[in-house]
Amino acid sequence: MKLLYSLYKEFKVITRDKAGLAITFIMPTVLILIITLIQDTTFRSVNEASVPLLIVDNDHDSLSNVLEKSLINSKFFIITKKQLSVDEAKSEVAKGHYFIGIVIPEHTSDLLRQRSSDRVNKLMSSFSGDTLSSERLDTSTIRLKLFFDPITKKSFKTTISNSIERIISQIEMQSMVNSLNETMKESFPDAKPSKLETAPIVGLTEEYASYNNSTIIPNSVQHNVPAWTLFAMFFICIPLAGNIIKEREDGSAFRLLTMPGSYMIVILGKMLMYVFVSLIQFALMLSVGLFILPMMGLPQLNIGDNLPVLFLVAFSAGLAATGFGLLVGTIATSHDQASLFGAVFVIILAAIGGVWVPTFVMPEVMKQISVISPLNWGLEAFYGIFLRNFGFKEVFPEVAKLLTFFIVSLGGAYWYQKYRQLH
């Protein structure tokens, strides 16, 4: 009964604090909207399509046509064709208007056909002992110019270069086959040969190694919604610590401590109400990811299929955040101290934990440090549920860490309170 009244009191106090409510609910919503929009392009560049590409076609022949078609079919690029000089193309990329620029020199297709034909003729004449076989071939490379935006990551640059090289290899291969065909026709004018199949013989089957065949790719929404939700949940330590300090300063804690029964009932009521608030925050932020962000042209948040496990992680994170708030509120001697310490500490934990910059793009040292942050534990669990369809067994280590953090914080607060009373 005491617990119920304690919960009711906290509910009234929290709901009548307009400024506190604004910080608790509006701040994280705004953060999610802004940061997700800002980071969307970056995540897209790492993940998927829409890489702006400039083609300067001075060839206007088969090679440039096939190359352009292949690039379009890859669905990786947004292609713009312009007639520019090499320097102008380079300048366009340098200004950041395009991620990549390709300049195809004049007569590239002619040269390709010529050299393919020369190579095939040389090969054929070697069978007949013709003098042609001893002549030297032109083995110089026809060079297409490729420009990359300087901010492009090396790994991404390599991926793009490899893709374009593969397309060009296929064009070269096709050109050789065509030349061979022509030569064979001359040798066997009455023959009716079938077309040589040039489709790849060995191919790759790619798939994300996720549970239950989930193939969701991390994007700015999948990262930012859980990341900033956790940030907001841990930020609750500031109003909670403030609430505890205010009760201590205005004598309410003194009065409550003089009452029969345990003061822990009051603290438990406070804690459960703040966990409830953090769960509302969580539900609100998920709603933003599910309904608001898609309206702004961003991908919809995919929350996976395992809602009970999702709730368990959110509840554990809420407990961890509340435990931390209790510890800060117990140790801090003033509201200012709690606000400053709480805010700075949560920001540091968020930075380490991969809220601002995802851990998968962090340097190795930071990746190792990130595992000490409770926000990282929560984030990893959410990633698991959202991207890999993790179940209870898979998220258990992260949940256990969050619950341990809660117990340690609570124990620390209890011990410090007793220590202060006795000394």
């Binding site: 009244y5 009548r16 205005d250 004598g251 009065r255 006795l422």
Partner: protein, 249 residues
């Protein structure tokens, strides 16, 4: 008269403090007393009250409430005590009704008698028309009156008042004192009262103890103290005993 509070050779030393906050102090409060605990700032009044309420134990000595100690009978001791702190220990965003309902439930009171008690006390102290107003909108005097009611809800045997009339207007002060006298005479409630308003203490308390530097320097019936010290008032007694020296640390 039977003893309600017995403080026996109590010493309280805080960690790293150069001297004891309470130094071998003994005193007795009988049932039905209005006991004034007076002393300069830093004399040890708040420390003594905190120990009486069971907030922390004495370093040495014993404190008995109805013959029981906090060590062994914490809940019984606490149930016998009502506390009115010097601070307005109320939630400003809650109404007087909500504050008192919450605090009454924390004392373990049942809802129906609690509501009756709140209504009765608010009416007696002239707050019935402001019952559902937030505490933040109250004047200083109104807050003090609600603060007093919060300590009375469970009808304690001993009511501890720490500067209950500080910063209030004459009307509120008179209402508080009159109600406390009524509680003492009609219900036999024992009152432990601390204040720097010595004229108020003289008028209100039948027994007074003066402590200084953690030690009991004198105690007795109010009138006897004035006569024994050849003085005209408790203020004169107080100044004679404690002197004019500042107690700045």
């Amino acid at each position: 008269m039977s003893k309600l509070v017995e403080v026996k050779n109590v010493i309280k030393k805080y960690k790293d403090a150069p001297r004891a906050a309470i130094n071998n102090l003994s005193l007795t409060i009988d049932k039905g007393d209005v006991f004034g605990l007076l002393g300069p700032n830093g004399a040890g009044k708040t420390t003594l009250i905190s120990m009486l309420c069971g907030l922390f134990p004495a370093t040495e000595g014993e404190i008995y409430i109805n013959g029981l100690t906090h060590k062994t009978h914490s809940n019984q001791c606490k149930q016998a005590i009502g506390v009115v702190p010097q601070e307005i220990a109320l939630y400003p965003k809650l109404t007087a009704w909500e504050n008192l309902l919450f605090l009454g439930h924390m004392y373990g009171l049942k809802t129906t008698p609690l509501k009756e008690s709140i209504k009765y006390n608010l009416a007696i102290l002239g707050l019935e028309s402001n019952t559902h107003q937030k505490i933040s909108t109250y004047s200083g005097g109104m807050k003090r009156r609600v603060n007093l009611i919060a300590g009375l809800l469970h009808n304690p045997q001993l009511l501890i008042l720490d500067e209950p009339t500080v910063g209030v207007d004459v009307q509120s002060k008179q209402a508080i004192i009159d109600y406390l006298k009524k509680l003492n005479t009609e219900k036999g409630m024992t009152i432990l009262y601390t204040s720097h308003h010595l004229d108020e203490a003289e008028e209100f308390c039948n027994r007074i103890a003066i402590i200084d530097d953690g030690k009991l320097v004198t105690q007795g019936k109010t009138k006897d103290l004035i006569i024994e010290n050849n003085s005209q008032s408790i203020e004169e007694v107080y100044l004679k005993i404690t002197g004019l020296k500042f107690r700045d640390k």
